[in-house]
Amino acid sequence: MTASLDQITDTVRTIVADVLSVPADELSTDTDLRDVEGADSIKVLRLIARIEREYDIELEDEDVFGVSTIADVADVVRKAL
């Protein structure tokens, strides 16, 4: 069964909350990940790695380094599935 965009968004939000140590309900889908308190480029890379493992995908470099919001991440994951 293919995951819906909403399901992917929820999963991505959960992983982002875990990696960046913030409550999931404080994360809106259009929050810039690099602007979250305590986030840095290493943490963003680490959460991309978690998401790739979760879905068993490898994102293109442009996506890995280009995404900025949870909605962006969910979108590139959906395209990669």
Partner: protein
């Protein structure tokens, strides 16, 4: 490797006891080689040294130079297990004392010599060597063509050079990341004046020096697992580490964590075997 004479790298200047608390017993400070992910750090490091010895065709008649010999893991392995005659070179005097003591304890003093100097400046190195090894040390040397030319000049015809290094994953990644904060942290704090290059630049320098490229090995996943196990050791020995230097355990863990986050995305770790032959 930094040194008392060349205080360029704060990481290597840490109290030597710190390294004894997160590296394996051999104090090898480079990637292991894992046959299974469950291999212990000690096993992986022994397997790696055995692999390097095989790749340079080490025998009891071999004369080898190890550039950036650190705490002597590979020097002592090649001398003790393969019976090679080995010279190690490192700029750090306290590393020499450590290796020479271990060599004496193992009855290897006649086959082990440590030179304290930056490789680029060392004048009295043995020549006609069967092999030169450089595990994660050329990253500290800005003039790579000069390093390869000097190493090749020390080798006999048909001798081999094993060089392993952390690399940018490609030129585009290098152009993108060479000047961002995370890279500066890795370069300055971890590699100390390190010059991360893409593999293509290592290969080009090797070709231009006159080497043939015999083998390329991708060690990236092995290094990731190695650093995971170092982090486990830092966590297990946090109290002892913090007694040596308060707060060092968290610093080390952060620093190893940052190194591990980039593997495959921004960085790779490759080994090359170069042959002094057409």
């Amino acid at each position: 490797m930094t040194t008392l004479e060349h205080p360029t790298n704060q990481h290597y200047d840490l109290d030597p006891r710190v390294f004894g608390l997160f590296l394996d017993e051999s104090r090898k400070y480079s990637s292991g080689w894992y046959l299974t992910p469950d291999d212990s750090l000690e096993t992986a490091q022994r397997q790696k040294m055995s692999m390097v010895a095989d790749l340079i065709h080490a025998t009891s008649r071999s004369r080898v130079l190890d550039i950036g010999s650190g705490w002597g893991a590979l020097v002592l392995h090649l001398a003790g297990v393969r019976g090679c005659d080995v010279t190690g070179i490192s700029p750090a005097p306290r590393q020499r004392d450590f290796v020479e003591k271990r060599a004496r304890q193992r009855g290897l003093s006649s086959r082990v010599r440590i030179v304290t100097s930056p490789f680029e400046e060392a004048a009295d190195l043995p020549r006609g060597l069967d092999a030169v090894t450089a595990l994660g040390s050329v990253v500290h040397m800005p003039d790579l063509p000069a390093v390869f030319a000097k190493a090749r000049g020390l080798l006999r015809r048909d001798g081999r050079m094993y060089v392993s290094e952390s690399c940018f994953r490609n030129q585009a990644i290098r152009a993108r990341f060479d000047r961002v904060d995370g890279t500066d942290f890795v370069r300055e704090a971890i590699f100390g004046n390190g010059e991360l290059r893409p593999l293509s630049e290592l290969v080009a320098a090797a070709e231009d020096t006159g080497f043939s490229v015999e083998t390329t090995v991708d060690l990236t996943r092995h290094y990731h697992r190695t650093i995971e196990q170092w982090i486990e050791n830092v966590q297990a020995n946090a109290a002892a580490l913090n007694r040596i230097q308060p707060g060092i355990a968290a610093q080390l863990e952060h620093y190893l964590d940052v190194s591990n986050a980039g593997w495959g995305y921004t960085t790779k770790h490759y080994a090359l075997v170069l042959r002094n032959a057409r």
